[in-house]
């Protein structure tokens, strides 16, 4: 993980933004893009906002032969209310999420993440699909979407498939997507009545990548926890859910002392490392604290609705 300077083979400091030749495509429709992926997928990289890809190219972490810039595909940029669920096109910018009443009202945990992801300039460029496909363990959108039970629609020339986001990540920079597949959209079911969600990130400064982050969703009925989901970022090779902690919380009365005791279990469900941003020790200690805080905020939000 501490490979911050794995640069080019010969000149470690030649970090010009376009260091190798590549062929560039800018499809205008989803079909065109899928055609191109079908042809070049194995050696191609998708360019959406570019806020991750260009950095990786600059550092020679990837050297694609083909770049498919999908930013011009209008049909993948939308936020749609469909009654019981909301669909978000993969090319929706973070800034659009930030300005959406729908996101703010129904998915407060996602809204929390949007507000602390980069600065305005980054949010204007970066796409929600790009944040997921980059598959960083620190992706700010991943923990909230995981606790919101989001599903991802992956498209290829052969057809479409829908998978839960919890099955999407494989490792740092790795997902289950086939080389010919494109993330088309994200669907998020509207949260059930009386539930609430929240996201907390601890970083070195404002506008920074997470040292550690956590999202929770919670529903309490008759003072008992009837639904709880917890996801943690920057604490394992991928963002992770913590099923054992969730199981231990289900059926428990919602009392801060009980929450405080039970969230200690999350430490066993993560495997953080030391890197340039933080230490494994700190990440473990603080994971339980931000999960606890997120649960308390989720509870407060649920009771307000």
């Amino acid at each position: 993980m501490v490979e911050a300077v794995k640069l080019s083979r010969h000149n470690l400091f030649n970090t010009h933004i376009i260091p190798v030749n590549f062929k560039y495509f800018a499809p205008k429709t989803l079909n065109e893009a899928l055609e191109l992926l079908d042809k070049y997928g194995k050696e191609a990289k998708i360019l959406a906002g570019g806020t991750d890809l260009l950095v990786k190219m600059k550092m020679r972490l990837v050297e694609p032969k083909y770049i498919i810039n999908i930013k011009g595909i209008r049909e993948l940029n939308f936020i749609k209310d469909e009654g019981n669920q909301v669909r978000i096109g993969a090319l929706t910018r973070w800034r659009q999420l930030e300005k959406s009443e729908l996101i703010k009202n129904f998915f407060p945990s996602l809204y929390d993440a949007v507000k602390v992801m980069g600065g305005t300039q980054i949010r204007n460029m970066a796409t929600v699909g790009g944040n997921l496909c980059n598959a960083s363990p620190a992706a700010d959108s991943a923990p909230p979407l995981m606790v919101l039970n989001a599903k991802l629609v992956l498209a290829s020339k052969k057809g479409e498939r829908e998978i839960p986001i919890t099955q999407f990540f494989k490792g740092p920079g790795k997902t289950v997507m086939e080389p010919d597949e494109l993330l088309k959209e994200i669907t998020i079911p509207k949260p059930e009545e009386g539930s609430g969600s929240a996201f907390i990130k601890v970083a070195r400064t404002s506008m920074d990548l997470a040292k550690i982050s956590a999202a929770t969703a919670l529903k309490v009925e008759d003072r008992k926890i009837v639904m709880v989901r917890i996801a943690i970022g920057s604490a394992a090779p991928t963002p992770v859910r913590t099923p054992k902690t969730e199981e231990a919380l289900i059926g428990q009365p919602f009392r801060p002392s009980i929450i405080r005791e039970k969230v200690k279990l999350v430490v066993n469900e993560i495997s953080p490392i030391d890197d340039v941003r933080s230490t494994a020790f700190y990440r473990k200690e603080v994971s339980k604290i931000i999960v606890e805080d997120a649960l308390l905020i989720s509870y407060e939000r649920a009771s307000r609705r």
Binding site: V2, A4, V5, S8, R9, H10, N11, L12, F13, N14, T15, H16, P19, V55, G119, V202, R204, T205, S206, M207, D208, L209, K211, R255, P256, S257, R260, E261, V276, R277, S278, T279, F281, Y282, E285, V286, I289, I290
Partner: protein
């Protein structure tokens, strides 16, 4: 301070070209036929170069020439000439330039850079001060004895010691015998980066007659000129350095930077202009950063709270080149304690080479680091003695006119008001008063203070000069050699001219751009010395100009010169305001009614040299090191979150003793200094892996505070206690504004939770460890409280 029309007023900057995007920086200078240079960095922190194959690079279309170490068989440097142009025989740090390419386009140069093959034989890298000083350490500079050193630098060839400085005052063993309480401490700061906005760039051309011209991003045009000339064996008069706006320096652009590289490349290419521009990553590797520090201290006091002895071993981790850092090692050695009188001091300050990025000056020149250590010693002593932190400081504060410096000379009577700043800062932060308790039981608030002093560290004869010209319309052009990098000195100089001549400040122009062949000399733009030094030269130049104006008026009105006064832009016979000549009327000399003209153009000249500073004794450090010291105190209120271990600075107070020429710009310095100091305290660190590879040469992982991380409240006061020979009493403040923060924050954290942090940066990770080690009961109590509360 008495009231003036322009001096002491918050007059907005005269130059607003940055606001409109009109400002020209070195990056904007492009010459016809210009070639592009690119440097190739070493892949090892310490390795022998067994061979280098340039042939691949030479085959790239557009490549004009490829250079390697042996093309330039000499070293360059200011105080210690320890730098290769391109690595010869051995690489000393990860990223050190080993080859240089010159091509028709930047793209071709970059492509060629990929094709240079270097055959390395890796050596064991030396990465810490302790490793560097161990008896079996690999020697980094094997030929140190052959290097050219300034006379006041004491290297130890055959070791990794670049400079060894001794300071001895009184008898330290005797001092400790008198001490009732002795506190010890070990304090560390890591290597950090200046993180200025403008990456370095330089464009050079060499004329057939040997004249060298260069446009580059630097602080001190005349230092660049002198060092280029000295390093390359050129006459000063043939070297012309052009100064444009500089996009931030903070010490990182003092002295000679990489100017010699495009100049040498151009020389070898028949004088064709060559440009070397660095990107952000390259700037982290090819430009010097700031040294790391290790302080071991023992400080003793009597039970009455009188400091009686201080013993210190100070080490600077200079990285691979110590060219400038040797002088910082002197700086912390000569001023080894806070602004207190201590009769017995024994300090060794050792500058050490390691296989890390080279280091140089940084805002504060070692004083932020030394005070981080010493001001924590003061709080520890106060605690041991049961004396209030302010009271202990007041009992020992330097008394101008009475106290003696660590270098054994008496402090001038008008040196300033250290005690005044201590009292006022303590008052503003409400030190010792009850602190409002946050409602969350895991949040703890505390306050802390740190006093400080600093003056410029410069050769005893560091000179400045100024020229004042009157234009036909009565406006004034001021020619000075100081660099403009946002600090505002040129604005203050314009205000002084306006005040002295009684003309609107809009009529005074001090150009931010200058060339060494067309302005007056100044040694360097460093050490918060600009206003003090150029200001004195300028006042003498104005005096010279006024005398000329009086001379003309005395001839015209047939009176003695001393019967003429200059004010409101006119020379008038005293008491007869109707018998006047305006500056415009005599700009080119004065024409009498019969057509005869007298005197010719008005032009004033003035010089300054710090006439009272001396050499320092090599065995004891005895002597007068500085022309002035600015005294101040910083204080903060912090909030520590014991769950996430994050520290937030709620309020930052700065009190400086000096008057200021422009309170608006001075406040800008104070705010900027506080934010920079807080950022360094909480975040900043250059990290290397066990192979010595820099892990965060970028702003993704070299974290600098963002706008949201600025304290909610920042307060600044200037007490207006001036030094008589300073212009309008004003001493320098630029660096001073960032000195106290690490110490004040560390003291405030201790005040909040009783945990002492002796190493920067104070990250949540580090604080968590420290709390668990020093005050585990705090966490247990909090846990209990949280469980019971629910």
């Amino acid at each position: 301070m008495r009231s003036y029309k322009y001096v002491g007023k918050p007059i907005p900057r005269q130059d607003v070209s940055k606001v409109f995007g009109d400002a020209i920086y070195a990056y904007d200078v492009k010459l016809p036929g210009m070639l592009y240079a690119k440097l190739v960095g070493s892949r090892y922190a310490h390795a022998r170069i067994k061979g280098i194959d340039l042939s691949g690079a030479l085959r790239v279309p557009g490549v004009v020439r490829v250079f390697a170490g042996d093309d330039f068989p000499f070293k360059v440097g200011l105080y210690a000439a320890d730098r290769d142009v391109l690595a010869r025989g051995k690489t000393l740090y990860y990223g050190q330039p080993v080859a240089g390419i010159v091509a028709e386009t930047l793209q071709a140069a970059e492509e060629a850079a990929e094709l240079i093959e270097v055959d390395y034989e890796p050596l064991k890298p030396v990465l810490t001060i302790e490793e560097a000083l161990s008896p079996d350490a690999p020697i980094i500079h094997e030929e140190m004895s052959k290097y050219r050193h300034a006379s006041f630098v004491y290297p130890k060839p055959g070791t990794n010691i670049a400079n060894y400085l001794k300071l001895r005052k009184g008898d330290v063993s005797e001092g400790f015998r008198k001490a009732d309480v002795v506190v010890e401490g070990v304090y560390r700061e890591p290597l950090i980066s200046h993180a200025y906005l403008e990456n370095w760039v330089g464009t050079a051309r060499v004329f057939h007659d040997g004249t060298v011209e260069i446009w580059s991003s630097h602080q001190s045009p005349f230092a660049v000129r002198h060092l280029l000339a000295a390093s390359l064996g050129l006459p000063e008069g043939k070297v012309i350095v052009h100064h444009t706006f500089t996009g931030g320096g903070f010490g990182g652009k003092a002295g000679l930077l990489l100017e010699h590289i495009p100049v040498l490349f151009s020389m070898r290419l028949g004088g064709r202009p060559v440009r070397l521009e660095l990107n952000r990553e390259e700037n982290f590797f090819f430009m010097a950063q700031r040294a790391g520090y290790l302080f071991r201290m023992r400080t003793g006091a009597t039970k009455e709270g009188k400091l009686v002895a201080h013993y210190g071993e100070y080490y600077l981790d200079a990285g691979a080149y110590a060219d400038y850092t040797v002088n910082i090692g002197r700086s912390v050695g000569f001023v080894p304690t806070g602004p207190y009188e201590i009769p017995n001091i024994h300090v060794d300050s050792v500058t050490v080479y390691t296989n890390k990025v080279p280091t140089t000056a940084f805002r504060g020149f070692g004083m932020q680091e030394m005070h981080f250590a010493f001001e924590q010693q003061m709080d520890k002593l106060a605690q041991e003695l049961g004396i209030d932190a302010l009271e202990l400081r007041l009992r020992n504060a330097i008394v101008p006119g009475k106290s003696y410096l660590p270098t054994q000379v008496r402090v001038r009577e008008d040196a300033g008001d250290p005690a005044g700043t201590m009292k006022r800062a303590a008052e503003l932060i409400r030190l010792g008063k009850e602190i409002k308790k946050p409602k969350e039981p895991w949040k703890f608030r505390g306050v802390g203070m740190a006093s400080f002093w600093k003056g410029p560290v410069q050769p005893s004869n560091a000179a400045s000069s100024a020229i004042v010209k009157v234009n036909e319309d009565g406006s004034i052009d001021v020619l000075v050699g100081t660099g403009e990098m946002g600090q505002g000195t040129i604005n203050a100089l314009a205000q002084i001219v306006a005040e002295e001549l009684g003309i609107p400040v809009e009529k005074v122009r001090v150009s931010p751009a200058r060339s060494t062949d067309s302005v007056a000399y100044t040694w360097q733009t460093v050490g918060s010395r600009g206003l003090f030094s150029e200001g004195q030269a300028l006042l003498r130049a104005i005096d010279d100009l006024k005398n000329q104006a009086k001379e003309i008026a005395s001839l015209v009105f047939r009176v003695f010169r001393d019967e003429v006064e200059v004010s409101e832009g006119k020379a008038c016979v005293k008491g007869k305001p109707w018998e006047c000549i305006t500056l415009a009327e005599m700009a080119l000399g004065y024409t009498l009614p019969n057509g005869r003209a007298i005197h010719g153009p008005l032009i004033g000249r003035g010089s300054h040299v710090p006439s009272q500073t001396t050499y320092l004794d090599p065995e004891t450090g005895k002597g007068e090191p500085k022309p002035f010291m600015t005294f101040g105190t910083g204080a903060v209120e912090v909030e520590v979150d014991l769950l996430t271990m994050r520290v937030k600075v709620l309020k930052a107070v700065t009190v400086l003793d000096t008057p200021v020429i422009n309170p608006g710009l001075a406040l800008g310095q104070v705010y900027g200094g506080a934010v920079m100091g807080i950022s360094i305290t909480l975040n900043e660190e250059l990290k290397v892996d066990p192979e010595g590879r820099l892990l965060n040469p970028n702003f993704t992982d070299y974290k600098v505070a963002r706008a949201e991380d600025i304290p909610d409240e920042m307060v600044a006061e200037f007490l207006g206690v001036g030094q008589k020979n300073a212009p309008y009493g004003a001493k320098g403040i630029g660096e001073l504004t960032m000195i106290p923060w690490p110490a004040a924050i560390a003291n405030a954290i201790h005040n909040a939770i009783g945990v002492r942090i002796n190493e920067l940066p104070i990250t949540p990770d580090k604080l968590l460890q420290a709390v668990m080690r020093q005050r585990p009961e705090l966490l247990e109590a909090l846990e209990k409280e949280l469980l019971e509360a629910s």
